[in-house]
Amino acid sequence: MSDKPSDLVQGTLDMLILKTLALEPTHGYGISVRIEQMSKGVFRLNAGSLFLAIQRLERDGLIEGEWKPTENNRRAKYYALTHKGRKRLDNETREWGRQVAAIARILEAS
């Protein structure tokens, strides 16, 4: 069971993408690879939901896309965090930490 990729907690995908891009701007595939690597294979993104989220974040002005050549001479859209996106990431990270701590406390209580 634990080997299979698991579903993301609702609403966390945006935060993960923002976090990924906070380290370094990259393209869609790069995001999905990095999330998979960092989560040690627990989260594996579907292209549909990934690009849907990217489109949403871009429209909200949290990330910005720019067409650039890739290593193997194709064109890809590289996304970078905007100032607003960085603020949102900070907020969400803090909020997430609070919630996780709270949930942990509840679960440990029994």
């Binding site: 869609g28 595939y29 292209a47 549909g48 849907l52």
Partner: protein
């Protein structure tokens, strides 16, 4: 910011779709390549790697579709595509589309027409007035009475008391409830014009400024020293003064007195009463001069002013209401001699005075209900049309579902189609309303000094849009839900699907409802039309064919009694010599009009009878009145001219009164006493008896009436003609002018024209409900025909089998007709039941016919059955004339 960006991005995707698509393609392509390159590191070939990625991620197209559907523009885009598709579909069947749209448009158009009526009467605020929503009407209320008669306008002293003692209003204005028909004495002729008396703050409180000169001010309207000034209505100024810009300062002679023109009201401002466009406004304090009614300004008993306050921003209507009640109580305390014991209340101000709104609302509600039902029938038709079509389209829906269209998308598609239909119908309905609304106004009697406009304004537009959308969703939802729940596999496997049991049951339900509604409307319509025929043939008790009436009031010019008498004597002589005139006379007022004079008989006289006080109507007439009006004298004699003098104690009574007072005796020569005023009794001798006529309304029970020979200055000239009376109207007007150029008749019309007033309610309901009944029948027939035709076409195969197996043609015919008739009978029974129960709502509008008239019920049932039979028979004939071989091969 981000919303703006979102919108901008969405618009970019919508209008630069190819470019955005290409970018998405490229981005996804890059993703795919990179993922494949990763796989190739594991030693797969390029092709194998791509395949592996696709297996993992699904096809690129689906992914792209998912990404695309994320933005709001996706919804717009699909709606647009659905709309285009719906257009194509409707264009493919122009015949049935047109039929559906026209049927719906008829229903919607009539509803829009009625609504434009409601809008003009009840919803539109007065034009040209600042912040009309703050205006409130204050009415004195008699808690012991009910209906409109429980509400009284204010007396002049009342108005002053309320105006000066209230805390809720920024200011309080007043205007005359009754329009004043005033004679405008031009150099050589008199013309009647409409005037309204208004308080000095009327214009300033309404925020209305003169386009020329100034408006009436508080200084003009001082009780002690009123100024004879007028403000002209814009339309009047344009029409009769050619927009003369030097009009201010000139003088108008009105009812024989001079008034200075101080200004002209702005275009579009016509005061606060619906249908009433004053030619001029004058100060209320001038009332005694204009009406020649001395003492009106100090009179606590004559209620004649509508008071309107502008609510302070911090005040509430309920607060103002409570305050008005307290103020009224204080008046009662301060003036115990009045014995008023009244209350007061406050309403929002609209163009119809609050106490009358109930009647207007009730009338328009009846029309709305009738035409609402017509619309419902039209909707049921469209719903069954769409249901039939959705059956034909099950395969299309199955294909859509198989290709990944979700339930929501299919429902959206179907609803777009139905709302497109209803919107087209709404548009057509608006055009229809534009043409039919003036027809509704044409029903109004010409003699009413009312000018009503039924504009198609934004409220009417909003109404039509809402009705269109509701109709679209209501009749589209069932077929849409049906389409969305199509079973994919069964429909793709099978070529044809027999019409499901559930579906035909739904259609049958619709048809039954339609027939029931149609029955109700048809019965109401027939009742009203028959009632109109009854009303037109009711004998009002006088000749309506060869009589002309003209109302005159030399008293308003300030003439003395002698001058008045001389005028009428001369006029009578002049008119009598006109060729074609056989008799002339005068009356105080005509029966069946708005004017009434009534009193009660003194119960002690005559002694011979019961002690109850009999209420009686009084009509004052000159000699020859009965002859002129074609009323025969049953007993006794007519008045003679010397009896017209004050103090002569003779009377002619009608049969109704004669029978109540002296059942078996000759009334002629008997004496009776009635109250002639507060504390004043009048004892008279009966000299004649005439037949009972109609005096107040056409439908009334016999009313006891006494005729008195004493007339006042205001009289109605009645003229009997031997031929067509219309040819004499002009010569009578000329004679009046030649006798006294200053006098103009306020009403000059034939009796036939006059009768349009008492017949107005019967005519309106008769025409409108008749039309709605006829439309209901037509729509139901079309709908039934369509559904039966469709069922027959669906069963062609089955019929072919039956005939091939040896079924007789009559058997097949029976089979189909039985289905239609069964629906009809059920619908009919329900409809008759409702009509029977709801009939009493109409009873006040019906003349000489019971709301449960059996003949009407039976006739409607027979007509409906016959029509349904035809609607079933024609398609059934077609079905059995099909060659069984063709039918069996048909697929």
């Amino acid at each position: 910011m981000s919303l703006l960006r979102n919108v901008a991005r969405g618009l970019r995707s919508l209008f630069r779709k190819e470019r955005v698509d290409r970018e998405l393609d490229e981005e996804m392509g890059a993703y795919l390549e990179m993922a494949a390159a990763e796989k190739m590191k594991d030693g797969l070939s390029h092709k194998e790697a791509l395949r592996a990625v696709r297996l993992e991620q699904g096809t690129l197209e689906v992914t792209k579709e998912i990404v695309r559907s994320g933005g709001w523009e996706f919804v717009v885009d699909t709606l647009w595509r659905d709309l285009l598709f719906a257009f194509r579909l409707l264009r493919k069947n122009p015949g049935s589309t047109a039929a559906v749209v026209v049927a719906l448009a008829l229903g919607m158009g009539l509803n829009t027409t009625v609504f434009s009526f409601v809008n003009a009467l009840l919803l539109r605020p007065p034009r040209g007035v600042k912040a009309p929503e703050q205006l409130r009407e204050v009415w004195i209320h008699n808690p012991r009475s009910s209906g409109a008669e429980a509400y009284l306008p204010m007396t002049y002293p009342d108005y002053f008391y309320y105006r000066d003692h209230n805390q809720s209003f920024e200011g309080m204005l007043a205007y005359d409830f009754d329009p004043h028909l005033v004679i405008w004495n031009k150099s050589d002729e008199g013309q009647t014009v409409l005037g309204q008396l208004v308080s000095g703050n009327f214009f300033s409180l309404l925020g209305v400024n003169a386009v020329l000169g100034r408006t009436i001010s508080a200084e003009d309207d001082q009780t002690a020293n009123p100024q004879p000034v007028v403000v002209l209505g814009y339309a009047f100024w344009r029409r009769y003064f050619g927009s003369d810009s030097t009009i201010v300062g000139k003088t108008l002679t009105l009812n024989g007195a001079n008034y200075g023109v101080i200004g002209v009201a702005p275009a579009g401002f016509t005061g606060l009463l619906v249908g009433f466009e004053p030619d001029f406004w004058a100060p209320t304090a001038m009332v005694e001069q204009i009406t020649r009614d001395k003492g009106r300004l100090s009179n606590w008993r004559v209620h004649w002013l509508i008071a309107i306050g502008r609510l302070k921003t911090e005040a509430s209507t309920s607060g103002a209401r409570a305050e008005a009640s307290v103020l009224e109580h204080q008046i009662d305390m301060d003036h115990p001699d009045l014995k008023r014991n009244l209350d007061a209340t406050v309403f929002p101000a609209t163009l119809i005075p609050a106490p009358l709104r109930v009647y207007v609302s009730a009338f328009t509600a009846l029309l709305m209900a009738a035409f609402g039902f017509v619309l419902l029938i039209a909707c049921a038709n469209v719903a069954s049309f769409l249901l039939a079509r959705s059956t034909r389209r099950t395969r299309e829906m199955a294909v859509r579902a198989a290709l990944g269209a979700g339930r929501g998308r299919v429902i959206q598609q179907m609803l777009v189609e139905s709302t497109l239909l209803s919107s087209l119908a709404g548009l057509l309905g608006l055009i229809l309303a534009y043409w039919t609304a003036p027809l509704l106004l044409a029903l109004k009697p010409a003699s009413l000094p009312i000018t009503l406009r039924l504009p198609i304004d934004w409220r009417v537009l909003v109404f039509t849009v809402i009705v269109s959308l509701i109709c679209g969703v209501v009749f589209g939802l069932t077929p849409a839900l049906r389409s969305a729940s199509v079973s994919v596999v069964a429909n793709l496997k099978d070529e044809t699907q027999p019409a499901g049991f559930r579906q035909s049951r739904l259609r049958s339900l619709l048809m039954t409802g339609e027939i029931a509604t149609c029955t109700v409307l048809l019965i109401c319509g027939t009742l009203c039309v028959r009632s109109l025929r009854n009303a037109s043939s009711i004998n009002p008790g006088f000749n309506t064919q060869h009589v002309i009436a003209a109302t005159l009031d030399p008293g308003s010019l300030g003439y003395s009694d002698t001058q008045v008498r001389t005028f009428y004597e001369q006029l009578s002589e002049h008119v009598r010599t006109l060729p074609g005139v056989t008799a002339t006379s005068f009356t105080d007022h005509l029966p069946l009009g708005p004017a009434r004079e009534h009193t009660i008989l003194d119960p002690m006289q005559p002694k011979s009878n019961k002690n109850d006080a009999i209420p009686i109507d009084i009509l004052r007439v000159a000699p020859d009145y009965f002859q002129t009006m074609g009323i025969s004298l049953l007993r006794g004699r007519d008045f003679i001219s010397s009896e017209g003098a004050e103090g002569s104690a003779v009377t002619i009574i009608n049969e109704a009164l004669a029978k109540r007072l002296w059942k078996n005796q000759d009334p002629v020569g008997q004496r009776m006493t009635f109250w002639a005023g507060p504390g004043k009794k009048s004892s008279t001798e009966v000299i004649g008896v005439v037949p009972t006529g109609k005096y107040r309304t056409l439908g009334e029970a016999p009313v006891p009436v006494v005729y008195l020979p004493q007339l006042r200055a205001r009289r109605t000239l009645v003229v009997r003609t031997s031929g067509d009376p219309t040819t004499l109207l002009d010569s009578i007007r000329r004679e009046i002018h030649s006798v006294d150029p200053n006098i103009a008749p306020t009403d000059l019309e034939t009796m036939q024209q006059y009768m349009s007033l008492p017949l107005f309610p019967a005519r309106t309901t008769g025409l409108l409900l008749g039309v709605s009944g006829f439309l209901a029948l037509a729509l139901t027939t079309i709908g039934l025909f369509g559904v039966i035709s469709y069922i027959v076409s669906q069963r062609t195969h089955e019929i072919g089998v039956r005939v091939a197996l040896g079924a007789q043609r009559t058997d097949v015919l029976n089979l189909i007709i039985r289905h239609g008739l069964l629906l009809t009978v059920i619908g009919l029974v329900i409809g008759l039941g409702i009509a029977f129960g709801a009939g009493h709502l109409l009873s006040s509008l019906l003349y000489g016919i019971a709301p449960t008239d059996p003949a009407t019920f039976i006739a409607v049932a027979i007509v409906l059955c016959a029509v349904v039979f035809l609607a079933c028979y024609i398609p059934a004939r077609r079905a059995i004339s099909v060659d069984p071989l063709v039918a069996l091969r048909y697929e």
